[in-house]
């Protein structure tokens, strides 16, 4: 493992830019720390953190000047890999007939090259889950795969998780295990502010070599490990995953769903901020005289009526049925479908729900009042 100081981080930014990468990283915009295009280390949220609760997010000051002493921002990296709106193809009608051509915004030549800086372990897991959905198997999403293949991931381990975090119980954090090019752990103590860096790929190794990073001392590595050990305890929430899919599948008529029917706004915020939610709709647009048309893919949500509209009507007409669909997909049927949970414990759906609905509380309520599996053990899933 190597050690990087702040000036090494600046050098890393320069190297990435030289190589043609757009750096996407955390920065303070208005009332939140968001992941956006940044140019320099100065734009990182030094000494700024956030306090997150159900339906509440506030910026706060830190006194240690940490660059990554904050938690997750309002939206995930999903919007870069899987943009909210994407043209799939365009068509033109001429006197000779109809021609279909590739989208103007999706040609391989003009795809962005992103360097994601500050990807948290849970987020990296979420990217892994979306890879499974979009980039593997019989039907590969060409746009996702093309952008995904070109990214560099500089992950940052979480030493200070927040109140809505529960990655430890979903086993996705607070320390990242794989999927990164570089993983950093920020270590701050009197008189020193450095990052213990671990490479996770040849690209990462090469980056460290180009930075001429010095090896981290045993003491520095130990300090990073201590911080990560304590991080799990700082997590504000947890989900008991013991036979969770079975529990939810067995409780589709649980009274808690009726209770949710009263509280849930079906606004769709949870799905839009969720780093693994992948649902989309397709829209065909035309110009007025019908000579040009285009097909667009747009983020959709299982909380909208139209999402489950088929011949004859909407399959999930009640809000209860939509919330149940979403939650049981995340915590139960996702396992049947993809072999992992669809929830990584990032807690965004809790923070950004306008009425503070908390998926961990709902899971707990269902377990508590269930005749099945009401006693949990700390066993594996």
């Amino acid at each position: 493992m190597e050690r990087l100081e702040i000036h090494d981080l600046s050098a890393l930014f320069s190297v990435l830019k030289q190589d043609g990468y757009q750096i996407i990283g955390p920065t303070v915009r208005e009332s939140a720390i968001v992941c956006e295009r940044i140019q320099s280390v100065d734009e990182l949220p030094a000494g700024v953190t956030d306090i997150q609760r159900p339906a509440s997010y506030r910026l706060a000051e830190r006194h240690d000047n940490a660059l990554f002493g904050h938690r997750l921002g309002p939206q995930s990296w999903k919007r870069y890999l899987y943009p909210p709106r994407l043209q799939l193809f365009q068509a033109a009608r001429t006197e000779k007939g109809i021609t279909i051509s590739p989208p103007t915004n999706g040609g391989a030549g003009d795809l962005p090259k992103y360097a994601f800086v500050g990807v948290r372990p849970c987020e990296l897991s979420a990217i892994g889950i979306q890879d499974m959905v979009f980039a593997r198997g019989t039907y590969v999403d060409p746009h996702y795969s093309a952008v995904r293949a070109r990214i560099i991931v500089i992950a940052v381990n979480c030493t200070d998780p927040g109140e809505t975090c529960f990655c430890a119980s979903m086993k996705t954090g607070p320390q990242t295990e794989s999927g990164y090019d570089l993983a950093l752990t920020e270590v701050i103590s009197a008189g020193s502010h450095l990052f213990v860096a671990q490479s996770g790929s040849d690209v990462g190794k090469e980056l460290l070599a180009r930075l001429k990073a010095a090896p981290a001392s045993a003491e520095e590595i130990q300090r990073a490990e201590d911080l990560l050990d304590r991080a799990s305890e700082k997590m504000g929430r947890s989900v008991d995953t013991y036979r969770l899919p079975e529990l939810l599948h067995a409780n589709i008529d649980h009274p808690q769903w009726d209770e949710l029917d009263e509280r849930c706004l079906s606004c769709g915020n949870c799905t839009q901020v969720c780093p693994t939610c992948f649902c989309s709709t397709v829209e065909d647009v035309t110009n007025l005289d019908g000579t040009e048309a285009g097909r667009w893919r747009k983020w959709d949500s299982c909380f909208t009526l139209e999402f489950s509209y088929i011949h004859g009507g909407c399959v999930r007409a009640t809000t209860k049925s939509r919330y149940r669909q979403w939650m049981t997909h995340k915590l139960a049927s996702w396992v049947d479908q993809f072999g992992t949970f669809g929830c990584v414990g990032c807690g965004r759906c809790i923070t950004w729900c306008p009425v503070g609905i908390d998926i961990t509380e709902e899971a707990r309520a269902i377990r508590a009042q269930s005749t099945l599996l009401s006693t949990s053990s700390k066993g594996e899933m």
């Binding site: 009332s31 919007r79 009263e262 839009q272 005289d289 139209e306």
Partner: protein, 259 residues
């Protein structure tokens, strides 16, 4: 392609401020394409020239507030093949529907020197309360891109892409930071239909609900959350009583918190 007869389009006005019809004239870059594709047959706001009906497409702005208009809207329906209501007045009664919560005769007596000259209905109501409407386009005012989309879909015989989900969906897709969660001003986004492109949240204002209630709205849950967090009932009533005050879900919610 064979030259088709251009569809005849009429724009009708009832009780309204004209802002929605103006959205059509605001399509400056697209106006030439519009008149290329349709024949403006009746549009007093734009031209005195009138082509007689029947009309292929009617855009109806405004609410029904007088006995005369309650008759006239039936004539409009009879002369229109496809009728689209545009804007909060036409789809929900508009801001003037605030009078529905009071006795209109008291206003008439208080405002006019000779109240007997004024012939008005007790309530301002949506067009769909009087006639069958083929499509409703929400907004105060309507969004020009949505209007173009409806016209374009009509001309091309396809379904218009007008989502009925929440403003939050647009807000998140636009990458805005939620003002509700970050303790900004009260925002009706979670109960309001999309279509404005999250206009107010883009300028750090809460959603005012111009596009009316979204599909399956749940205003009582949002109100309960606000009350729990210190909002006054009077303020709740005012929030829901604006341009779409008389749209059912908003009306019921404001009435639930009155006095």
């Amino acid at each position: 392609m064979a030259q088709k007869r251009k569809p005849k389009v009429a724009v009708w006005k009832f009780a309204s401020c004209d802002g929605c019809q103006l959205s059509l004239l605001d399509c400056e870059d697209e106006l030439l394409a519009i008149v290329e594709a349709i024949q403006i047959a009746y549009f007093p706001e734009a031209t005195r020239a009138v082509v007689r009906g029947p009309y292929d497409l009617s855009l109806v702005e405004g609410s029904i507030t007088t006995p005369h208009d309650a008759e006239r809207i039936h004539q409009v329906r009879r002369s229109s093949k496809f009728l689209v209501t545009i804007g909060a007045c036409a789809t929900a009664g508009g801001i003037q529907a605030l009078r529905n919560f009071k006795n209109v005769h008291e206003f008439v007596a208080g405002v006019y020197a000779t109240p007997s000259y004024i012939e008005t209905l007790a309530k301002s109501t949506a067009i769909a309360d009087h006639i069958f409407v083929d499509f409703q386009l929400r907004g105060c005012p309507i969004n020009k891109h949505q209007l173009l989309e409806v016209i374009s879909a009509y001309l091309n015989g396809r379904k218009p892409n007008i989502p009925t989900y929440s403003v939050c969906m647009e807000c998140k897709q636009k990458g805005l930071v939620c003002g509700l969660v970050t303790h900004g001003p009260p925002c009706l986004g979670p109960v309001t239909q999309a279509g404005c492109g999250a206009l107010c949240p883009s300028y750090h204002r809460g959603c005012f609900g111009c596009f009316g209630p979204k599909e399956t709205p749940n205003p009582s849950s949002l109100s309960e959350w606000w009350l729990k967090n210190g909002m006054k009932r009077d303020d709740l009533v005012r929030l829901y009583r604006s341009f779409n005050a008389y749209a059912d879900p908003f009306r019921k919610e404001s009435e639930a918190h009155e006095k």
